[in-house]
């Protein structure tokens, strides 16, 4: 009995759960088009843990996956072309060297930046607030822009994870859920702050 209550056991349990969650995420992301639903389900499970609804990994993952499937596909349809267009634009502008293209590159770079930090909040906001899609994007953007502290911390987390994943791509097998957990925690503190800082 005592062993199951020890810190060591709890920490180990958490690690195992994170690993399992990551595995599920990879599995559910394999059809590529389901990356968004799968990521949202992962954040949903992380939120359940955070809210101390301890009910394992499998069941809540599937529940969140099914529940948010439609809205996350819609998001994929909006997000992917947008990101694609912006990034290809940047690449093309990189080749050109006129004054307008430098300005354009700057503007588009800014938009990419906004897109990244809004996206960072998109998933936590989605699982925490349960909003219709327009509201979702709007609020993610709003929180991201008004909570600068959390946004900067989040960007640092993203940057560092990006670096590590680039260096050691194999990390993706078990690191995504941990990174997401950090990002969720960070966004949650921003949510808590909204009332206070306003």
């Amino acid at each position: 009995m005592a062993f199951f209550h020890s810190r060591l056991y709890q920490a180990a349990e958490k690690m195992v759960n994170l690993l399992l969650l990551n595995f599920l995420w990879v599995l559910a992301s394999l059809p590529i088009i389901t990356i968004f639903p799968s990521t949202i389900a992962m954040f949903g499970v992380l939120r359940d843990w955070h809210m101390q609804k301890n009910e394992g990994v499998w069941k809540p993952f599937i529940r969140h996956f099914v529940k948010n499937f439609k809205i996350s596909l819609v998001m994929t349809v909006i997000w992917v072309p947008l990101a694609y267009i912006l990034v290809t634009n940047l690449q093309i502008l990189n080749i050109l060297h006129s004054v307008t293209s430098v300005i354009m590159a700057f503007v588009i770079g800014l938009l990419v930046f906004i897109l990244i930090y809004t996206t960072m909040y998109l998933f936590p906001v989605m699982v925490h607030f349960d909003l219709p899609i327009i509201q979702l994007i709007k609020n993610a953007f709003f929180i991201a822009s008004s909570q600068w502290k959390s946004t900067s911390i989040g960007l640092v987390i993203l940057l560092m994870s990006g670096f590590f994943l680039y260096q050691f791509p194999a990390l993706i097998i078990f690191a995504t859920s941990i990174i997401s957990y950090l990002i969720y925690q960070n966004c949650y503190s921003a949510f808590k702050n909204i009332g206070a800082s306003y």
Partner: protein, 539 residues
């Protein structure tokens, strides 16, 4: 071509990001249109009588809901209200654990519904959003359009003064339930069937209670041959079922705010030596496995499930009452544990700071284009009979009317627990049921009658005299409180849990006290003391 592409990219994003702004434009255009339509609206609106409007009007309300409750539009009582008033409410029901942040988000992004129902606004919310104009003053609307609420204010002037903010406006509507039940939120129930089985007496001291819990742990009272008994479970720092009254056995009762009043003095419980002694003692219980360590993390539904395992595994537990946890068929096996005598001879029951009155139950926002319709709608609920049904359940499901038109409880179907059924059929919200309404408009339900009796017989002889009243602080005071209290309470609660689970109170106590002082505990207590002194002077 390339340029075209990049322009297109920009436009996509701009469109996406600025849908937001265009929404507001649409809203203001709508405003203009509506002011043109004013005459039409006033024709539609009936100042007296029902329905409130001749042609159906739709309003958008936000409300938190209980875990088991369906969407409010599916509730029968809400549907009846719609039939009566011809006002349709579009409910945005937010489950309890996300409500607080969602509400803040709505105010911060100025994305407001027409009204917040069962709003649970803190005093700080009320003062701040009142000042910013996001929730509107209601006193004129009440005077013109809320005869039921007016009547209540005449009967209970203190209720009106309670909802009046320091700036003299009423921004939120009250909720009141004068039953005499809230003073004691922590009833400890104990499995008497097991006591009999093991040949034990009902404990009267903390020491004896500990022995009983040990016996539950070791002697397999449920005859499963397994180590599956939970001797004692509770809800850490929850409004009901918390551990505060166990601490009372050491001389100072604790509560969720860690704030009690004795002889007009405000005392912060979590820095008292008695508190430290209690923590040390109960850490022993956690270590021995007498206290369920999930008490610190479980939510209500997990807690409820523990009482309903087959075979029974719960030895004793703390909650609002006995039946809700273990279910009706098992509740006969449990009895209330009377207040226990502590090691130093104290036998005390804490008086909670919970009040039967509250503010912030309903608020109308600046986005609302039909405040008068909204006020008339909500005033329907302040009819005592309607209030009772909103609070406890509608006629036909929970109640039936007797020959005098009084609401009396219907027989429930076998195996249905009242508390759970109620979550599904009663939306709660801005309701007022006064003491004189019990026994004339609504029969006090058996559960409440029983609880009142239990309080009077078991707890009242040992009940603390005073509690901290509902004081509406000024904005500066609230600012201070808000700034200080959140961190202090979080620190205290986290320390409390950590000491109970892992020990270490003896070594860390001095630095803990120092830390609290540097967090501004003294300042915080001074604000509360000043508030209380002011309140007592005005009595």
């Amino acid at each position: 071509m390339l340029k075209k592409l990049s322009y297109f990219g920009c436009w996509m994003l701009f469109l996406l990001l600025f849908v937001a702004c265009s929404n507001d434009d649409v809203a203001s255009e709508k405003d203009e249109q509506d002011s043109g339509n004013d005459k039409e609206i006033s024709d539609n609106f009936n100042k007296e009588g029902l329905p409130i409007v001749d042609e159906k009007v739709s309003l958008h309300f936000v409300s938190p809901k209980a875990p088991l409750a369906p969407d409010y539009n599916e509730m029968e009582i809400i549907q009846r209200l719609e039939d009566k008033t011809n006002v349709h409410i579009e409910w945005d029901n937010i489950s309890g654990d996300g409500y607080e942040e969602r509400k803040n988000l709505m105010f911060a992004s100025d994305e407001l519904p027409d009204a917040f129902y069962h709003a649970e606004f803190s005093d700080y919310d009320i003062v701040r959003y009142g000042r910013s104009g996001q929730i509107i003053p209601l006193e004129d609307l009440i005077e013109e359009h809320a005869p039921n609420l007016q009547k209540i204010f005449e009967k209970r002037p203190e209720l009106k003064s309670m909802v009046t903010a320091p700036d003299g406006h009423i921004y939120s509507l009250p909720r009141a339930e004068e039953m005499g039940l809230v003073a004691v939120p922590n009833f400890t129930s104990i499995n008497t069937k097991w006591l009999d089985e093991l040949g034990l007496d009902m404990p009267t001291t903390l020491e004896e209670y500990g022995d009983v819990l040990r016996a539950f742990r070791d002697q397999d009272p449920n005859n499963t041959g397994e180590d599956d008994v939970i001797p004692l479970s509770y809800m850490h720092n929850f409004w009901t079922g918390n551990f505060g009254d166990m601490f009372a056995a050491f001389g100072v009762p604790d509560n969720t705010e860690h704030r009690i009043v004795r002889d007009g003095e405000v005392i912060f419980t979590a820095t008292q030596p008695e508190y430290k002694e209690a923590i040390e003692y109960f850490h022993g219980w956690v270590e021995e496995g007498l206290i369920d360590d999930e008490s610190f993390i479980q939510d209500v539904s997990q807690y409820f499930a523990k009482g309903k395992t087959d075979p029974p595994t719960l030895g004793s537990y703390i909650w609002w009452e006995t039946e809700e946890i273990v279910g009706p068929e098992r509740s006969d096996d449990y009895e209330l544990l009377p207040p226990l005598e502590g090691p130093n001879g104290h036998k005390i029951v804490g008086r909670s700071n919970n009040s039967e009155y509250s503010r912030g139950a309903f608020a109308i926002t600046s986005a609302n284009e039909h405040p008068e319709i909204t006020m008339r709608w909500v005033d329907q609920i302040y009819d005592p009979k309607m209030s009772a049904q909103m609070s406890w359940g509608p006629i036909g499901i929970i109640y039936e009317e007797d020959e005098n038109g009084m609401l009396v409880n219907k027989e429930l179907e076998e195996g249905v627990a009242m508390g759970e059924l109620r979550q599904k059929v009663a939306p709660n919200g801005p309701t007022v049921v006064l003491e004189e309404d019990f026994g004339t408009v609504v029969d006090m339900e058996p559960r409440a009658k029983q609880r009142l009796k239990d309080i009077q017989e078991i707890y009242e002889p040992y009940l603390e005299e005073e509690s901290f009243p509902q004081i509406f602080f000024s904005e500066e005071e609230l600012d201070q409180i808000n700034r200080l209290e959140v961190d202090i309470l979080e620190f205290v609660n986290q320390k409390q849990a950590s000491w109970l689970l892992n020990g270490g109170v003896e070594e860390e106590w001095d630095s803990y006290i120092q830390q609290l002082e540097s967090m501004g505990l003294h300042e915080l207590m001074q604000i509360y003391q000043d508030g209380l002194d002011r309140f007592n002077e005005n009595l």
